[in-house]
């Protein structure tokens, strides 16, 4: 009889312990950031944000550690090896900005099988066992045309500056822009160039196509190319169209100068590099036992005429406008996805 009683008692204890384990403390958990590339201002800002926010979280004991690792060569095979090393190092969660949406699936699966939580953001992975914090790039493109339709109710000709050919993000933003043009048929895209998300490339490309274009009312962009477009257009005798900016410091500075000089109006939209910190908090919430949907959407950072100065003041020279997310922001994003 004693055995039976003991069994019952232990079952009861196990039941009582259950809810407690569902709200487990994460103070002993280790989180790693696997990053594939650090060679531009956006990625640098992303890593700085990670360091700042996770450093604070480690200090206050929310998690045990949050180390950042970047691969040297931006290659999927190298990052797969990096993830496998993290499995061996005993991390509880891996936050991942992936070099390829599919080529890391094998390594991600290995991590999941080892009981590790994998949260991908920005460069997301398709492996079903991982979480994805995706950016609605289509909406980012569409919202530009919507903004222009408010400013220019009569519509007009648009010049589209695209990103790096063959990259998923470029296709998505461009698809969104074309969707927007369909929605607001008063606009017409009369020219399209690849600016590779770089001011110098964009400037050359725009200068090259300008002579063949009719009057332009607006320039829709993908970020990192607005300042170059402005320089190219300023070199001609054309009237400055509304150029949608991409949150880069040089773009915001130029906008501010124009605003002070002649009341130039536009808006600026891009992804905040601090999205890495959102991914961090989401991983922390999952480790904490929260029920989180596998696909989350990150809000993008939009700067308008009235909050330009505030954002410009916060942005480092040569950097990108940024927000760092808090635990509450992450909870809000998780809630809204339910």
């Amino acid at each position: 009889m004693t055995i039976r009683k003991m069994l019952l008692a232990s079952a009861a204890i196990a039941c009582a312990a259950m809810p407690a384990s569902a709200f487990a403390e994460t103070s002993a958990k280790k989180i790693a950031l696997s990053n594939n590339y650090a060679g531009n201002s956006w990625r640098q800002a992303m890593l700085t944000s990670w360091e700042k926010v996770t450093g604070e979280a480690v200090k206050t004991g929310v998690v045990a550690s949050a180390d950042a690792f970047t691969t040297a060569e931006n290659q999927a095979t190298e990052q797969a090896a990096q993830i496998q090393n993290m499995i061996l190092q005993g991390y509880d969660a891996i936050v991942l900005n992936a070099a390829s949406p599919t080529a890391l699936n094998g390594a991600v699966k290995e991590a999941c099988d080892a009981g590790i939580t994998v949260v991908s953001f920005d460069g997301i992975v398709t492996e079903p066992c991982a979480w994805r914090i995706a950016v609605d790039f289509k909406e980012m493109g569409r919202s530009q045309v919507e903004y222009l339709s408010n400013k220019l109710p009569d519509g007009g000709n648009l010049l589209e500056i695209r990103g790096l050919a063959g990259v998923f993000v470029d296709d998505e933003i461009s698809a969104g822009i074309h969707e927007g043009v369909k929605q607001f048929p008063q606009f017409k895209i009369v020219g399209s160039v690849h600016g590779d998300w770089a001011q110098d490339v964009a400037q050359k490309a725009v200068a090259g196509i300008l002579p063949s274009l009719p009057d332009i009312a607006g320039v829709v962009t993908q970020g990192g190319d607005g300042y170059g477009a402005a320089q190219a257009i300023a070199a001609t005798d054309r009237k400055m169209p509304i150029i949608v900016m991409g949150n880069r410091e040089d773009e915001l500075k130029w906008w501010k100068e124009q605003k002070d000089a002649n009341g130039y109006e536009t808006m600026s939209v891009s992804i905040a590099p601090g999205v890495s910190t959102l991914a961090f908090w989401v991983a922390q919430q999952i480790l904490d036992g929260k029920e989180v949907k596998k696909d989350l959407v990150v809000p993008f950072l939009r700067i308008d005429q009235d909050n330009l100065e505030a954002n410009l003041a916060k942005t480092q020279a040569g950097g990108v406008a940024n927000v760092e997310y808090t635990q509450e922001d992450a909870i809000k994003v998780i809630e809204s996805a339910k």
Binding site: A76, T77, A80, Q84, G90, G106, G166
Partner: protein
């Protein structure tokens, strides 16, 4: 001293030594790696690199250099993740055609007396273009049998170790123990005397290239088995990794001096060096430099040994 090591064995000592040293360091840093699963995680991505290194070694055995290795392996990966899964017959035909293309490249390089670096660099754009045509966006899926093969859990030793040993043994027999291997190395060592002995250099070179193509095809298939899907840039690193692997393993750029076992060990060492550095928590800014430093140290050791060897001979 009655017992003397052959010069081939001496060449193997340094790579084997550096691998064991690195492995000991990794085990010390991360005891968790000292297990069946740990070893597999450390080394499974080395399997396709080892295959690519053997392929590169075969090209280097005839005094050539293949700069299209990475692009070719990527192309094979794309074929594996698309055709080999959905239409195996067409997939096999494409891969066979690719091996034939490699043989043809060998023939062209020989007949027109072209520098292999230029031809293969050109071919790398062809393979890269074909890969992008097949998979414009990353995707595809590994055939089930490939996935099974790369995740199989053999008894005693993990897949990565078993596969490395099998690759090394097979390559060793082809290159060191068969008459074909002697011929290939002979072309690299002294082409004219091989020719005068009545052998066809064109055939030898074509065979070396075809074998290289075959091993590169296996590398691409193995890679997809690990990653489960492909993209057109998946293996671009393999060009330099495979060359470094051959050199690390005791091979040389000219003279037909190559070592298959050494090449596999070289590939494992390169993979392990990356893990070692990340376990050390060296900041990413320094990692490339540190990786280079490991390479230089191993090569310096070898140079020293070569000198010793020469001095011995002179005596």
């Amino acid at each position: 001293m009655t017992f003397r090591l052959s010069s081939d064995a001496i060449r193997l000592v340094i790579p084997a030594l550096s691998l064991s040293l690195l492995l000991a360091a990794v085990f010390w840093l991360q005891p968790r790696a000292m297990s069946y699963i740990g070893l597999n995680l450390l080394f499974n991505l080395a399997v396709p690199i080892a295959l690519a290194t053997i392929a590169q070694m075969l090209v280097m055995a005839v005094n050539d250099l293949d700069l299209s290795m990475g692009a070719f392996v990527s192309f094979v990966a794309c074929v594996t993740a698309t055709f080999l899964r959905d239409a195996p017959v067409i997939g096999i035909l494409i891969l066979a055609g690719a091996v034939a293309a490699y043989a043809a490249i060998g023939v062209v390089i020989h007949l027109r007396d072209l520098p292999s670096i230029v031809v293969t660099l050109g071919m790398s754009f062809v393979w890269g273009g074909l890969a992008v045509l097949l998979l414009p966006a990353p995707g595809g899926r590994a055939p089930d049998w490939v996935r099974w093969l790369m995740t199989v859990k053999p008894p005693l030793a993990p897949m990565a170790i078993v596969a490395s040993i099998i690759i090394a043994v097979i390559a060793h027999f082809i290159v060191k123990r068969s008459s074909l291997g002697v011929l290939i190395r002979g072309v690299g060592g002294n082409q004219r005397s091989v020719e005068r002995a009545g052998w066809s250099i064109v055939a030898a070179r074509a065979t070396a290239y075809a074998l290289a193509g075959l091993f590169a095809v296996l590398a691409g298939i193995a890679l997809v088995g690990l990653t489960t899907s492909a993209d057109a840039n998946i293996a671009l690193r393999y060009t330099l990794l495979s060359i470094a692997g051959v050199i690390l393993g005791g091979g040389e750029f000219i003279g037909g001096r190559v070592s298959p076992i050494g090449a596999v060990i070289g590939a494992l060492t390169l993979t392990l060096a990356g893990s070692f550095l990340s376990f050390l928590r060296i900041s990413p800014d320094w990692q490339i430099g540190a990786q280079g430093a490991i390479l230089i140290i191993v090569l310096a050791l070898r140079l020293m040994l070569n000198r010793l060897e020469k001095r011995e001979k002179r005596r």
